[in-house]
Amino acid sequence: MESININQSIAKNAHFIEEIGIESGQPVQKCYQCGKCTAGCPVAFAMDYTPNQVIRMVQLGMKDELLKSDTIWICASCSTCSTRCPCKVEIAHVMETLRIMAGRSGTAPAGKAKYVEIMYNALLSTVEKYGRTYEIGLVMQNNLKSGKLFNGADMGLPMFQKGKLKLSPSKVKGAAEIARIFSEVQKMEGGVK
């Protein structure tokens, strides 16, 4: 991590800690940096900031750095941290809140984080259309958008041979109801298109 002028950061984003506290419902101000979250995190090895650093950065108002970070997308939401936190901060939920906030603010994730966002969009677009996940559609859209055209291609045939890939999507009768859920959420809060 490069050096940061903490005083400047606090002055600039004094309300950030409050904003995260309200949106996530988590007592982020209580964290005293014991590091238990990071010690148990199974994905910490792939993160740019560790979970305890993320919470400290929230306390310091480092909004820009956090919304651009890989960590908030790489977090697997396994809740090991949330379960073990002595201050009862659901850190995984704070990560999700930051991710949603990044999406709303239009902060484009890069690298590893970008691939996570592409997968989310690919999955949800099949759900919006059919009401259920359509695996082939998901993978095709994911590969086109990520530029990794042959991602999983070597696995596709064996999966098909075992009857585990359905060529056509399974569409629910109430597909229009699902599309309505997406458009209502978009109208009320945005962030899903």
Partner: protein
Amino acid sequence: MRYAYYPGCSYHGTGKEYESSTHAVAKKLGMELVEIPDWSCCGATAAHGKSHLLNVALPARNLAIAEGMGMDVTTGCAACYQQLAHANKRMTENQEIREKVNKVTGKEYKGTLKVKSLVEAIGTIDPELIKSKVIKPLSELKVAAYYGCLLVRPPEITGFDDPENPMFMDNMMKLAGAQALDWAHKTECCGASLGVSNLGIAVKMINRILKAAVESGADCVVVACPFCHLNLDWHQKSVNKQLGTTYELPVFYFTELLGLAMGISPDELGLKTHFTDTQKVLSLVG
């Protein structure tokens, strides 16, 4: 024992063995699983990263339909379970959220249901009843019961088993006659949500779990989630290829092993469509 049953999107595809073995075992146990009519996707594992409201609304539509059936909900998939249980908690505890979500779905959910994972639903059946159905005890089999993350965490949402050392599946495997091993990675996340986007990260997470299972002396891993199964079974090849390992560790759904012990045929349970060869284990249990 009647439940509103939520199959989840992988039921006819990647998780089809889970679906067939679930129904076969439920039948033996006299458990009636009534499919929620026109159920839709719960939003796992994407909605939580896009919108808090969408993340509750997608599962809520299914809860509203199930409430009309007047039965508590159960589902085999750990990710679906997490989504349904999370939405249920948010909507029963907070009237404002409930009203907002009902407006979004256009269906009224009053918040009267319980959501149980299939592990809880079967694991709370009278052990004597389960035992009475076991006609081919898996007495030679050493299993590593793997729970992963979403089935047992966070405890405020799941709560039926210990989040650090869960025992529900271990106890069921013991009833089936198998030896359930004490091992370290029962609840370590396998990284399935990163499997499509960042396989390079996921293989390292899978490797840790397979390594711990092999070191514990397990003949196989037992899971209760189609994502865990896909990751540990399908991607075992990816781990071997990328990390130079030589794993050949079969991965079973707990319902497949319960079914085998109850004398249900391997074909009916779906044991022939795994990616890692199951023959070694099948010959152990006759």
